[in-house]
């Protein structure tokens, strides 16, 4: 009996060890399992999808946890469109709420999807330097990407002269305004920086919020005022010189911009203390509900406005304009992308992944996605200027027009920089500490000195990406 017990124990131990070994082995396959939204969307509409998935090779892509209408738009304009365009591959998009850290962990472990979603071109430099992403130069030549992408974005996506990513939709920061609030109060749509701040002062006097930005869910929203006011107040030239090491952060133009960030926070131009108690959806809810004339946000603001507006008529009240330059001249745009897409060096199907990226760089894809999901998919392609906003209605037309304006401004070289897209990693993280200045924990000068130290650290780490040069 004792021997039988021992034998059983040994068997159990053996089973445990084998199970562990088996679990370890199961992580080996290079291709990620597909367990996601493709299954949520009915696939029987198209002949190509009628084929068994096993016969098609999978191209995987991870994306953040989008909402239902956003997933539907992706299913229609990206997944189905690509899968129906050929019969050899199947694009599988996996929606993950922690996509950024998931990708960082997967890449560190030598895995990850074929198409790598990144937080922006600045994210790519380090990985590219280590050979974790495919050099896209040959695909750029094959598909003519250099001519099709807006020049500044193409440059931004290069590392030491080679292309390693394509940009996602443009995330230019600007001013969303409620036409009805302005009209009801007899205020004109501001055309200069002074008019804008004066209107915000009047709004506060009238018991409204002067303007709104919301950092409740994401402290990194601090990058919005940083990007906007550096571009509008310090100007493209000064920021370019700072990002290329020609000029110190603690220099007069940047000091003026940082002081303006403090003024905006203290004067209530970003919601005052409620800056920390409202999120992106809530500030747009307040804009739609006529509690403020202005919201400051990237172009994604169109998607938030669409998400909270009860009907199209209310949505039509929302307008968009660029933040005027404080020192006069044409309003510069901020060079920013909501994300970047690269090809994993471990991908077994880089050609097919490149074909997906190529499809994403078409006006057909950008305008199609934007017609259902405005705000996120304004791809920076030159062809965008040929899309006629008149073919769209209301907020969709406004978004298409905004994208075309941004593309034109970028083409003219009138641009500053979005922090998350263009700042190197440590500099970006340190820039977010502007709230320590708002709360009186350090002075503007100390804050800018810390940015100089952070930038030096990034230079030492070799993580400064290509910074496109504006015209000045």
């Amino acid at each position: 009996m004792t021997n039988l017990k021992k034998l059983l124990s040994l068997l159990l131990a053996l089973v445990m060890v084998l199970s562990l070994v088996a679990c370890g082995a199961a992580e080996e396959p290079a291709e990620e399992p597909a367990d996601e939204p493709a299954a949520e969307e009915p696939a029987e509409e198209t002949p190509a999808e009628d084929e068994p998935a096993a016969e098609r090779k999978q191209i995987t892509m991870w994306f953040w946890g989008a909402s239902d209408y956003q997933r539907n738009a992706m299913q229609k304009w990206l997944i189905d469109a690509y899968n129906n365009s050929q019969e050899e591959y199947e694009l599988v998009v996996e929606f993950r709420s922690s996509v950024d850290s998931d990708i960082a962990v997967a890449l560190s472990g030598g895995g990850g999807p074929d198409i790598v979603y990144g937080s922006g071109p600045a994210f790519v430099a380090g990985y590219a330097a280590e050979g974790l992403f495919v050099n896209l130069d040959s695909y750029a030549e094959q598909y003519g990407w250099k001519d099709r992408l807006v020049g500044a974005f193409y440059d931004l996506c290069t590392v030491e002269g080679s292309l390693y990513s394509i940009p996602g939709g443009m995330s230019n920061f600007g001013v969303f305004y409620n036409k009805k609030v302005l009209e009801d109060n007899g205020w004109a749509v501001p055309t200069t920086y002074e008019e804008l701040t004066a209107t915000m002062d009047k709004a506060i006097e009238a018991g409204l919020y002067g303007g709104l930005i919301g950092a409740k869910d994401w402290r990194y929203t601090n990058e919005w005022p940083i990007s906007m006011l550096l571009t509008s107040v310090a100007g493209p030239e000064a920021v370019y010189k700072v990002l290329t090491g020609e000029q110190k952060w603690n220099s007069p133009e940047i000091v003026e911009a940082a002081n303006e960030m403090v003024t905006w926070y203290n004067n209530g131009y970003m919601g005052g203390e409620d800056y920390w108690s409202l999120d992106a959806n809530e500030i747009f809810q307040y804009l739609v509900d006529e509690k403020t004339p202005f919201c400051y946000a990237p172009l994604n603001g169109f998607q938030w406005a669409k998400g909270v507006a009860p009907d199209d008529a209310t949505l039509d009240n929302i307008g968009f304009m660029l933040l005027p330059a404080k020192n006069g001249g044409d309003a510069p745009v901020t060079l920013g992308a909501v994300c970047s897409y690269s090809i994993n060096a471990k991908s077994e199907h880089p050609d097919a992944a490149a074909a997906v990226l190529d499809y994403m760089l078409t006006a057909e894809f950008a305008s199609g996605m934007s017609s259902e999901w405005p705000g996120y998919w304004g791809m920076p392609v030159v062809e965008f200027t040929t899309v006629d906003p008149a073919d769209y209605e209301g907020v969709y037309a406004a978004y298409i027009q905004a994208c075309a304006d941004v593309v034109a401004a970028l083409d003219a070289g009138n641009f500053g920089y979005a922090a998350s897209t263009c700042f190197p990693a440590v500099t970006y993280e340190t820039s977010i500490d502007i709230d320590t200045v708002w709360f009186g924990e350090q002075s503007v000068e100390e804050y800018l000195d810390s940015l100089d130290e952070a930038y030096a650290e990034d230079v030492e780490a070799g993580s400064i990406g290509q910074i496109p040069m504006p015209k000045f």
Binding site: S108, E130, D274
Partner: protein
């Protein structure tokens, strides 16, 4: 021969646990310690050895000092408030023989809620000055001018810890109640016959009997306090102005925002040291109890 066979069996039976411990605890620990001495960015093929530079940088970083202070505040709060509330409720439930199970289930609801749900409830329904309880109290027009506590320099970390304590106290209650119910009935009966009242019963009969459980849970609280992360990450990401920073949030920022895995590993080692100190005292106390 039998002894030899027995030893082989022991080794084979030990192997699975040993294998797991070595592969998921020992090897990653050694790797983490080594990484903390490098400037590795998480994906470079080579790791540059930089000695204790990461640790020196951390000790000079002002946000590290804020984080240490916050972790200690977190630990002190958890060692007092949920312990007292959990113990008090366990003692009350001990008296409720019929409704005990039902009440336990009700009290456990906060514990089984996902942290993201709990965090959202407090952020939007309790703490929000634009739509939550704070807003409601301010709207009463009785002279209150309450702010969002999450933005407070002094109370920010307490406001976040309060959410985690609300979630955690019932877990302690269940553990304490289980331990209290193991108290030998003969001791209780003898004390009652001697005329002991409830406080005397608690301090002289219950507490000595559940002392090992109280010790263990206290040590676990100390360890957990230096590993705390999720509620701060969900509610403030260490902000505003780093007021709610913890060691774990600094490690996370280093790893995933700044891509300094070496630095993040150094933070992890520091966090582990606090856990090891707690474990040392627990082992020492356990050995003393065994000797006694």
């Amino acid at each position: 021969m039998v002894n030899r066979k027995g030893k082989i069996t022991d080794i084979v039976l030990l192997f699975p646990a040993l294998f797991i411990s070595i592969s998921v605890v020992l090897i990653p620990s050694i790797q983490t310690i080594y990484n903390s001495l490098t400037s590795w960015n998480g994906f470079a093929a080579e790791k540059t050895f930089i000695g204790f530079a990461n640790y020196l940088e951390i000790f000079e970083d002002r946000y590290f000092h804020i984080a240490i202070k916050n972790n200690i505040i977190w630990m002190l709060l958890f060692l007092t408030i949920p312990v007292c509330v959990g113990m008090g409720m366990a003692l009350l439930l001990l008296q409720r023989k019929r409704s005990r199970n039902f009440l336990q289930m009700i009290f456990l609801v906060p514990y089984v809620l996902a942290p993201v749900v709990t965090a959202m409830i407090f952020k939007n329904i309790i703490y929000s000055p634009t739509s939550g309880l704070i807003h409601f109290l301010n709207e009463l027009n009785v002279g209150l001018d309450l702010k969002n506590p999450l933005t407070s320099r002094e109370f920010g970390i307490i406001a976040v810890a309060a959410v985690d304590m609300w979630h955690f106290w019932s877990y302690l209650m269940i553990i304490y109640l289980a331990a209290l119910r193991q108290t030998p009935a003969d001791q209780l009966e003898a004390a009652r016959l001697d005329g002991a009242n409830f406080p005397q019963l608690f301090f002289h009969i219950y507490l000595p009997n559940i002392k090992p459980t109280v010790h263990l849970m206290s040590i676990m609280i100390v360890i957990f306090s230096f590993l705390a992360f999720d509620y701060v990450n969900l509610m403030t990401q260490g902000g505003p102005a780093h007021y709610t920073e913890l060691l774990a949030t600094l490690a996370y920022t280093s790893a995933f925002s700044e891509r300094k895995i070496g630095m993040a590993s150094a933070y992890s080692v520091i966090m582990s040291v606090f856990g090891l100190i707690a474990a040392f005292f627990y082992t020492k106390a356990s050995m003393k109890e065994e000797r006694d």
